[in-house]
């Protein structure tokens, strides 16, 4: 597995995680990272180096959109928000992931 393929795989997963995190409500980049970490009960840590490119990419695809807002500690921060298209995409990807995980589970269980 080359690093490029690995990145692709991770990218798809990371997109899904971000969309999921934002489905709970608008949040700034830092918050998205924190939220994913909490949801994964500290088992996943998102590197900033991949988080922001993913956010920009998702915004380019118009699954999320961003605007300036005020953070919980009263600072100016860029908030991201799920678009209707993004919500649809989240459903599709969630389904794909479930199927994928189910298939993987079958394979591992059969061995």
């Amino acid at each position: 597995m080359t690093s490029k393929q690995k990145a692709d795989l991770l990218q798809g997963t990371l997109d899904l995680l971000i969309l999921k995190a934002l489905s709970l409500g608008p949040m700034h980049g830092y918050g998205v990272g924190q939220r994913i970490m909490q949801m994964a009960e500290e088992m996943l840590k998102i590197e900033e180096g991949s988080l922001y490119p993913a956010l920009y990419r998702l915004e380019d695809k118009e699954w999320i959109k961003s605007e300036w807002g005020i953070s919980e500690n009263n600072r100016r921060a860029r908030f991201y928000k799920l678009t209707p298209a993004g919500r649809k995409q989240l459903n599709i990807e969630e389904e794909n992931w479930q199927r994928f995980a189910f298939a993987i589970g079958k394979v591992l269980g059969a061995a």
Binding site: H28, G29, Y30, E47, E48, G49, Y52, P53, Y56, R57, E59, D60, S71, R75, R76, A77, R78
Partner: protein
């Protein structure tokens, strides 16, 4: 490299800075949050920051990525295209210079003419809700003849009976002698009814305007210009008096500089009460049509509704006053129409002309770009091979075109500013608001739109045609046979359209020039050379009785005639060919008018003249005698009539000795015809038709104002000083006004057509030059492209003359095609010139033939020069 600096600044205007900043801010926020979190977890500040930075990894790459996604990629490519385009323009300075100059000419002409159109036609009149202002005129019903002024009693009836107007005001323009406090001066003032300023919707800049109470007194409001000139902008002028025609008027206000209705020459507005002070009752005669009427429509009323109501009122007045109002109709015309109606056509013709110039410029630049596109085929092929999409290449070319257009537009604005300042020095004649022409925001907006549009027009064809060449170009060594032929056809089409457009413009210009020459050749009926004219008006307070008037004039004439350099002194109440003071209906004894409509057409110019008038002006006496000093107030009343009156009213009997009368029922005057002179044009300028004229000796028909006509031996202007001193020595209170040389009077009467002819001629010359450059370019390019073919032909034995004929023939075919299309187009276009033409039909064969021949000849010459280069082709080199 000024271009690079310029573009860097342009870039600063774009959003890219903002995008960068926003991304940096966003990441900074995240970093700070991370640092805080780390500290909370017990790290030292230093450690916390280092950890945060580490977790970001390559910060620059994240930023770059964000920038690209957030629209920066687009900006970057636009910026790239721009930079690339600028570089390629700088690399070909000659091409760039020619293209920019061509465009600057086209865009500059459009900017200049549009700024005129903007000032003259588009800017609203400077009054409150100007679209509601109407002018109301009396018309002669039976003939549907033009509008003329209204009598005060009729105006009052209109005002009382109409329901559609918010207000209605009357005004008349008069000359006043201003005396006391400085040099006596003749000034023009408008006598206005008290609601005049209300109707116009304007307020005084200083003091006040008139109120209804002012009607009984003598009050005056000054114009800004007059206030500045005569009173040095003294704010304390309110309440002071002005002595006009010997009567004191109290100054109540000063208007702002923006208000100059009904004309720039009007320097003050006086109350109507004065109308009755000169000649008692005269102003109140229902037959004295000397007032203009302006009215403001009520909300929601259209001019058509107003017309309908005024028609009813006119019919009612006709029944009520059959003596005076029979056949009188009313015409309601929007003030805007009144002001600009008669220049609109000329303005539209000029706009059409500059549009043609711009189209030709665009075609020329498109041609240049097409030629260049061929030499850039390889460049594009390589870029395409490296992954540039077709759209990207088209965009690249369009960016370059827009860049060229913007440079041309900037040059055009400079040209226009220069052009307008030169235009302002010309005499525009009666074009309204011409002095307000300027390059303002509206004009610049127009120019920007025109610039972008022309960038697209001339850029689109070369950009789209770039694609066909890509695959071929790399294979071939650069001659790109298929693509070239395609480009060549497109270029031919462009040149043919250029020639067609140039022909249309040149034919129109030619027709206008021919009309203008016809106009100048018109015989005004007198000899205008070496004639000095000036106007004198006697102060009415001092010269009430006609004997005194006649005496003072006689003294002035006699003393003037003795001055050295003076050959003869004529005087009359008109200034041919532009002005005559009095027109009146008349009857000829023994002549039965064939119809009542003819009776209404029997209107003549009535002039009081001195005995030397005909001799001084060189108006030939055809029969009978001119006046002499014996024709004084004690002698029987006599008249001299014009030749066309004899033809019409005395076809089979002696005119001399017959009698005629004029002046209407209210003030009939009867006199005997003693002489006949040839016809003279008295009003409406050279293009107007001759009218009947009845001349009376001034001592039998004295008036307070006369035009002096002094025939000079040499330069007429040298007599001004002595004329002034003679008049002053006779009476120091008599002012002299309107000192002019007759040649100049005639000259300025044709100022408007001259302006239009000059501009059309200029644009025609530009169009011709551009079209010639276009055909020259196409033929020289064709020669270069066909070098191989020519080489083969010559190697096979073709004579140089054959080769020459082939290449020139190509140019001639293009020229003839363009001329043929242009002639058809001109037949349609010149009809729009309509009233602007004088003495020449819109399809004048001489003009059409001349212009077509000229254009064909020049085009063939333009192809001959580059074609000769084909003869220098060395077959050996060409075939290699």
């Amino acid at each position: 490299m000024w271009l690079k600096g310029f573009l860097r600044r342009v870039r600063g205007l774009w959003r890219s800075e903002t995008i960068h900043r926003e991304i940096t801010d966003e990441l900074q926020f995240h970093m700070d949050m991370r640092v805080e979190e780390n500290i909370r977890r017990g790290m030292s500040p230093d450690e916390a920051r280092r950890d945060a930075e580490r977790s970001f990894g390559n910060l620059t790459r994240i930023k770059e990525h964000g920038y690209d996604v957030r629209g920066g990629r687009w900006l970057k490519t636009v910026w790239q295209d721009l930079r690339y385009g600028a570089r390629s323009l700088v690399k070909n300075p000659l091409f760039t210079l020619i293209a920019v100059l061509t465009l600057a000419l086209g865009i500059g002409a459009n900017t200049a003419i549009f700024s005129i159109v903007n000032a003259v036609l588009l800017r609203p009149l400077p009054y409150r809700e100007p679209e509601k202002l109407m002018t109301i005129w009396t018309t002669r019903r039976q003939q549907g003849q033009g509008q003329f002024r209204t009598s005060l009693p009729n105006f009052k009836d209109w005002r009382e009976q109409s329901r559609v107007f918010e207000g209605m005001a009357a005004y008349g323009i008069n000359l006043y002698n201003l005396t006391g406090g400085g040099e006596p001066e003749q000034i023009r003032g408008a006598q206005v009814s008290e609601d005049f300023f209300n109707v116009m919707g304007v307020q005084a800049a200083l003091g006040r305007t008139f109120t209804p109470e002012d009607n009984s007194g003598n009050f005056v409001v000054l114009s800004d210009a007059f206030w500045r000139r005569r009173f040095n902008s003294d704010p304390g002028v309110i309440g002071k008096t002005l002595t006009l025609n010997g009567t004191n008027f109290t100054i109540v206000g000063v208007m702002s500089a923006r208000f100059d209705f009904p004309g720039q020459e009007v320097v003050m507005w006086v109350t109507l009460s004065q109308a009755t002070s000169g000649a008692p009752n005269y102003a109140n005669l229902r037959t004295n049509h000397s007032f203009c009427v302006v009215a403001r429509l009520k909300d929601g009323v259209t001019s058509k509704q107003a017309q309908t109501e005024m028609d009813v009122i006119a019919s009612r007045l006709q029944q009520q006053y059959p003596e005076t109002n029979a056949n009188l109709g009313v015409s309601v015309i929007p003030l805007y129409e009144q002001v600009v109606g008669n220049v609109r056509l000329a303005m539209l013709v000029l706009l059409g002309a500059v549009a043609i110039v711009l189209l030709i410029s665009c075609a020329n630049v498109a041609n240049l770009l097409l030629a260049r596109a061929v030499s850039r085929e390889r460049e594009f092929a390589i870029r395409a091979a490296l992954g540039a999409g077709r759209w990207r290449l088209i965009r690249q070319l369009l960016t370059e075109s827009l860049l060229l257009a913007l440079l041309g537009g900037a040059g055009g604005v400079l040209l226009a500013v220069w052009g307008i300042s030169s235009l302002n020095r010309l005499d525009p004649g009666d074009v309204p608001r011409f002095d307000q022409v300027s390059v303002d925001g509206v004009v610049l907006g127009f120019t920007l739109a025109v610039t972008v549009l022309s960038g697209i027009i001339f850029g689109i064809a070369p950009a789209l045609s770039a694609k066909a060449n890509l695959s071929v170009a790399l294979k071939d060594s650069g001659k790109g046979a298929i693509g070239t032929r395609r480009g060549q056809r497109l270029r031919s089409v462009l040149v043919v359209s250029e020639i067609a457009l140039a022909l249309i413009l040149l034919v129109s210009a030619g027709l206008m020039i021919r009309s203008f020459l016809r106009l100048l050749a018109v015989d005004p009926g007198f000899n205008p050379h070496n004639l000095l004219t000036m106007q004198i008006i006697l102060p009415p307070s001092k010269y009430a009785d006609s004997q005194r008037i006649a005496n003072v004039y006689r003294e002035i004439f006699e003393r003037l005639a003795l001055q050295p350099g003076v050959e003869a002194v004529g005087a009359g109440t008109g200034l041919p060919p532009v002005f005559n003071q009095l027109r009146s209906s008349f009857t000829v004894e023994g002549y039965q008018s064939s119809s009542s409509s003819e009776r209404y057409q029997m209107i003549a110019n009535i002039l009081s003249i001195n005995p030397e008038y005909f001799k001084t002006l060189g108006i030939p006496l055809i029969a009978g005698r001119a006046f002499s000093d014996q024709d004084n107030e004690r002698a029987p009343r006599v008249a001299v009539i014009s030749q066309r009156m004899v033809k019409r009213y005395f076809p089979d009997r002696q005119a001399i000795g017959s009698r005629l009368s004029f002046g209407g029922a209210a003030n009939p005057q009867r006199c005997m015809v003693v002489g006949v002179v040839s016809d003279v044009k008295y009003s409406g300028g050279l293009s107007s038709a001759e009218e009947d004229a009845i001349y009376l000796p001034y001592s039998q028909a004295p008036t307070k104002g006369m035009y002096l006509m002094i025939r000079a031996g040499a330069d007429p202007l040298s007599l001004v000083a002595s004329a002034r001193s003679v008049v002053r020595s006779v009476d120091a209170d008599v002012p002299i006004a309107n000192i002019k040389i007759m040649d100049e009077v005639i000259d300025s009467s044709v100022a408007r057509p001259r302006l239009i002819v000059a501009l059309l001629g200029l644009f025609g010359a530009i169009a011709l030059t551009l079209a010639v450059i276009g055909i020259y370019g196409v033929i020289s390019y064709a020669v270069a492209q066909c070098a191989q073919e020519i080489g083969i032909r010559m190697a096979l034995g073709a004579r140089p003359s054959d080769v020459l004929r082939m290449m020139v023939g190509r140019g001639a075919r293009l020229a003839l095609a363009g001329v043929a299309i242009g002639v058809i187009g001109s037949f349609a276009a010149t009809r729009a010139l309509g009233d602007l033409l004088f003495g020449v039909g819109p399809t004048d064969p001489l003009t059409f033939g001349g212009v077509a021949t000229l254009l064909t000849g020049v085009a063939i010459l333009a192809s001959y020069i580059p074609a000769r280069r084909a003869l220098k082709v060395d077959p050996v080199t060409a075939l290699k």
